[in-house]
Assembly symmetry: C2
Homo-oligomer: 218 residues x 2
DNA sequence: GCAACCAAGATTGTTCAGCAAGTCTACTGA
DNA sequence: TCAGTAGACTTGCTGAACAATCTTGGTTGC
């Protein structure tokens, strides 16, 4: 088995760091990002900065139209609805197929859920990372690189939302753990339809709380 | 209602034309595409050619790694399986939701299917375009821009496959029309599970024939 | 006071020339 | 025959430049 490594280019590194800045809230939604800004900040040529910006535009973390300067996207209620409906569509069918095929529950999903519980026990409410890890590992379990990639794109937008609401109260970790567990049980029992139904409720509740938090933001 | 138009940049135009070249089979799978090639072919600067190439790499129509020259992707059986499984996951759940919500069948879907029948009656076997139009219009009917965008990406890869097999015998238009019709009936009757099942068979047959055609290609 | 207008500055789109670094190829010498 | 290598080719990135477009803030006319 050959391991292929990709030497990261300067554009890669800058794009990654910009992504980190946006997701950490360091770059506020709506704030503008000039090519010269980026070029100056990282001390690179403008062409390099441009490429990095264009990459983030392609993954819809920044937005811009011709001759306008890029801005950090601000996701509204309609976006959240769209994102969560897309998630539900993808993940519901994934659960059905995992259940129908009798695919064993991936260890990563159980571990992610256990991590949420640990943080909850440690009185932490910041469970976004393990929560997304739970969902992505379920999707990964069907073994479709394209489906996984699509879901990853949605997950990235969810994290962008989280950056906007900055730790406002969302779904309680206790509820999350319980609902995840219920989903795992149903999938394991081969009850795909029921699992999909629970997932729909789970995502629906998360979506509504997120929209509320968004309304009260800024 | 304001209509926003986007002035296309040179990079846009070149990327579009390259895409057309790849999908038309003018650029064979596996053939390499140098930045200087593209720059020369369209008489633009290398930076511009580079941007266009990178855009097609991002939508996985070309592939390349650092310091290597870009090549037109050649999709193998494993890719086809991956693409069709992703399609099935997305579209099956879409059908379930359309059926459950009682969403009326989009006119575009009926029209696309009628077009397939017309071409079949005119003894034409080239029904890829209206076929994809049928499927995308069903996905569009759920009204999720992100889901539609994801499906469009998959559809693009399907067209890329078609370019590779260059009009080899695939699913018969007569079969396609009949199965599409059956799907519409079931969705209309609110029978989501059954519609999803028929779709699975439909896509499965198309996938197998495509893989066969791919084996006999080049 | 306010709206339309205009000019200056800022920003993007694109080009050109060039260098460093990595990749590929075809030849050489063992 | 084949490993090694020199040279050609290609990509990554830079810096400077210019046109086209956008933005801003002041000015003019009402």
């Amino acid at each position: 088995m050959v391991i292929r490594v990709q030497v990261p280019s300067v554009v890669d590194v800058i794009a990654n760091d910009l992504r980190r800045s946006v997701l950490s809230g360091e770059l506020r939604p709506g704030s503008s990002l000039t090519e010269a800004d980026v070029a100056g900040r990282y001390d690179v040529a403008r062409a390099t900065a441009k490429a990095a910006i264009e990459r983030l535009v392609a993954e819809s973390m920044l937005e811009r139209s011709t001759h306008k300067t890029a801005r950090v996207v601000r996701l509204g209620p309609q976006d959240v609805r769209d994102i969560y409906l897309s998630r539900a569509i993808l993940e519901a069918e994934v659960l059905r197929r995992l259940a129908a095929a009798g695919t064993p529950i991936p260890e990563a999903a159980r571990e992610a859920n256990a991590e949420i519980r640990r943080r909850w026990n440690a009185s932490s409410f910041d469970v976004v990372e393990p929560d997304m890890r739970f969902h992505t590992s379920m999707v990964d379990a069907v073994g479709t690189v394209r489906t996984s990639r699509m879901y990853r794109g949605l997950a990235s937008e969810v994290r962008l939302c989280m950056a906007q609401v900055q730790g406002r109260q969302l779904l309680s970790p206790a509820v999350i753990v319980a609902e995840h567990e219920r989903i795992l049980e149903l999938v394991e029992a081969g009850a795909g339809n029921e699992a999909a139904e629970v997932l729909d409720g789970h995502l629906g509740r998360a979506r509504d709380l997120l929209i509320d938090a968004l309304d009260n933001a800024d």
